[in-house]
Amino acid sequence: MSASHSSSVERAPTLALGAPLSRAAFWLRSRLFATPVSAVVSLALLYLLLRWGWDFFGWAVLHAIWQVPHDAAGLPQTGVCRAAEGVGACWAVVAEKYRFILFGFYPYAQQWRPAICVLLFIGLYAASAQQRFWRRELALIWAVALVLIGALMWGGFAGLPLVADDQWGGLPITLILATFGLAGAFPLAVLAALGRRSRGMPAVRMLCVCYIELIRGVPLISLLFMASVMFPLFLPAGVDIDKLLRAQIAFVLFAGAYLAEVVRAGLQALPKGQSEAADALGLGYWQKTMLIVLPQALRQVIPMLVNTFIGFFKDTSLVLIIGIFDLTTTGRTAIDEPAWQGFGNEIYLLLAAIYFTFCFAMSRTSARLEHLFSRGQRR
């Protein structure tokens, strides 16, 4: 539906062409130089693109420093990079620090473990994006893979040394916070959404509305502060919940409220007849909800769920404020070392590229699913 609209809008000023032109020239004329205004815009944009692109190329490739010498003690000598500051990029900082940025404080010799976990995560995401893998087994695979990831990260068996979770860092933390956050938030969100729509239980509805609106009304960093600063005061002395888990709980609560609204949208979009038919069959509330309502409602909102997930994925970067070493924090800490101070742009570019890769892949998936579903709807 949307496709037909956009094409009609785009094709609105199609010109009648006199001379026989080649296809490329026709395309250029109709798409870039259709009107004088359009031509000016095109030329200006082209100029800016080429100019900025060339400057960037010069900085990032032509004048870049790829490695620096080390002194006798094995310490990097960054004088070359300092001399090139502002002219060329110092990619040597990435070469030196990439393992710390990716894996943080994880014991250096054991870093193959988080590396495998990252690959597992990517594999899981990739498999889940394919509609042909959407079977019951997928849930099982997820469960097995997540357990495997936990086991690999912690270790403590089969000769793998135990690595406590406060030594974890970098990309695995980002993936763990986002994935487990979503996994934990999902049941919560479904309950909150159902509660918010329940007619018969005003008190429960009130409670759900309170939870959803309270969380959605405050910034994530205030929740993270609460988890890191206030939460320890809530617990009796001696009971101590580890920092990563506290951040994870904050994330689950946060994600739960936003997902609840997504789920609610799905519930609202479901025709009333479905629910009435289930009633007519004599199904109880939970039977009706689990077998009839939720499967249809959730399927509807899968693209929205993916988009929300992209949001959480980016939001995990905020844990730097409470001192958990996720990808952003390790990146920032890497350049606190005196020898490498001042090469922030290179590191931030690397981080941006990593986040972009993940988010872009997910947003493509979301768009593809949306397209798929809307096609299915029309049929």
């Binding site: 300092r82 393992r99 250096y108 860092g169 206030m230 320890p232 404020i321 070493f325 606190d336």
Partner: protein, 344 residues
């Protein structure tokens, strides 16, 4: 509209949470912290984790710096092994709660010892591991040579530090005005100062010296003003009410100072095994029961010096590479402030 009805009582609920509070009661029982550390077999040590010279991770993720070494010394004293430390990175905001709630056993996080903190946080400082003071770094080309010339200046500071308090007081006292730029990110502060966004960068003088040192060839363009406008004694913090633990933290540091006074280093400590100096014999646990009295092994100080080194060694390892002169952080016999009470 429904949201409005719901949110208003909710907000009052949030505010209502604050009305909590009960009369203060004393708590604590002997050396609960030491028991916990020994039962766990690991010391939980709160550090900043991002400050060169104090606690910072290298490319392999290993912590370096005098705060990190302070943690190691404490682990060596209590557990006999300097490696049995778990470094818990804390932020300026979360550090006090982390200690209050027992998330860490000790906080060695460049925290300035002030009366206000001891009075209102339920925490106290064990000892001073670094005597610092608030200073200013300026561009030489600005022509400023003294802090009093900075009326109207723009100054970059880290929020949530005692630097803020020091500057606010100093400018008010001297009836001068300034514009603060408060940036939480050290990288951003660095950029802001070097690009000229701020006329001065103010923080602890040691950090300024270290910062200047990182500039390499360009260090000569920047001037560390001679004025030190505040005292910033930095040191480890512990919870109030566990006096035995407090003693251990304090005396671990004194043991390192005493070792430096006596010329004992990690390299030559074993050659003192046959010494007849009673002070050294007591320090190394060769005679007397000083360790037992504190609930530790009698070889505790030996472990500290052997595995981590004396104060001078720690300084040479962590601070000297930053180009910071030792100054008042030297032994009292060498014109500094380090002075350990007798260990007997």
């Amino acid at each position: 509209m429904q949201t409005a009805r719901v949110l208003l009582p909710l907000m009052s609920m949030v505010l209502g949470l604050l009305a909590l509070g009960a009369p203060a009661r004393a708590a604590g029982s002997g050396s609960a912290t030491l028991d916990a550390v020994q039962a766990r077999g690991q010391l939980l040590c709160g550090v900043a984790g991002d400050t060169a010279g104090f606690s910072i991770a290298d490319s392999q993720g290993v912590m370096h710096g005098i705060d990190a070494d302070g943690c190691r010394a404490l682990a060596a004293a209590t557990l006999g092994d300097a490696a049995k430390v778990k470094f818990v990175p804390v932020t300026a905001q979360s550090r006090f709660t982390a200690l209050q709630s027992g998330e860490v056993d000790v906080l060695i996080d460049e925290t300035t010892w002030t009366l206000g903190r001891e009075a209102s946080l339920g925490l106290l400082f064990g000892v001073v591991n670094f005597y610092d003071g608030t200073g200013f770094l300026v561009k030489k080309s600005s022509g400023v040579t003294a802090a009093k010339q900075m009326d109207g200046a723009t100054i970059c500071v880290l929020p949530g530090t005692s630097t803020e308090l020091a500057i606010a007081d100093y400018f008010r006292l001297n009836n001068m005005k300034f514009t603060p730029i408060e940036i939480q990110d050290i990288q951003q502060i660095r950029g802001a100062f070097l690009s000229g966004r701020c006329d001065a960068y103010s923080t602890d003088a040691s950090a300024l010296a270290a910062f200047r040192f990182t500039l390499g060839d360009r260090a000569g363009d920047y001037l560390l003003l001679p004025d030190i406008i505040s005292k910033e004694p930095l040191g480890p913090m512990v919870r109030k009410g566990d006096d035995k633990w407090f003693d251990i933290v304090r005396w671990t540091s004194y043991a390192q100072i005493t070792a430096e006074e006596a010329g004992i280093t990690s390299a030559n400590i074993d050659s003192f095994a046959s010494t007849n100096d009673p002070n050294i014999r007591r320090l190394l646990g060769l005679e007397g029961d000083l360790g037992k009295a504190m609930g530790l092994d009698n070889r505790w100080a030996y472990n500290v010096v052997k595995q981590v080194g004396n104060t001078g060694e720690v300084w040479a390892r962590d601070i000297t590479p930053l180009g910071v002169p030792r100054g008042i952080n030297n032994l009292w016999t060498k014109g500094g402030l380090l002075y350990a009470p007798p260990m007997r």
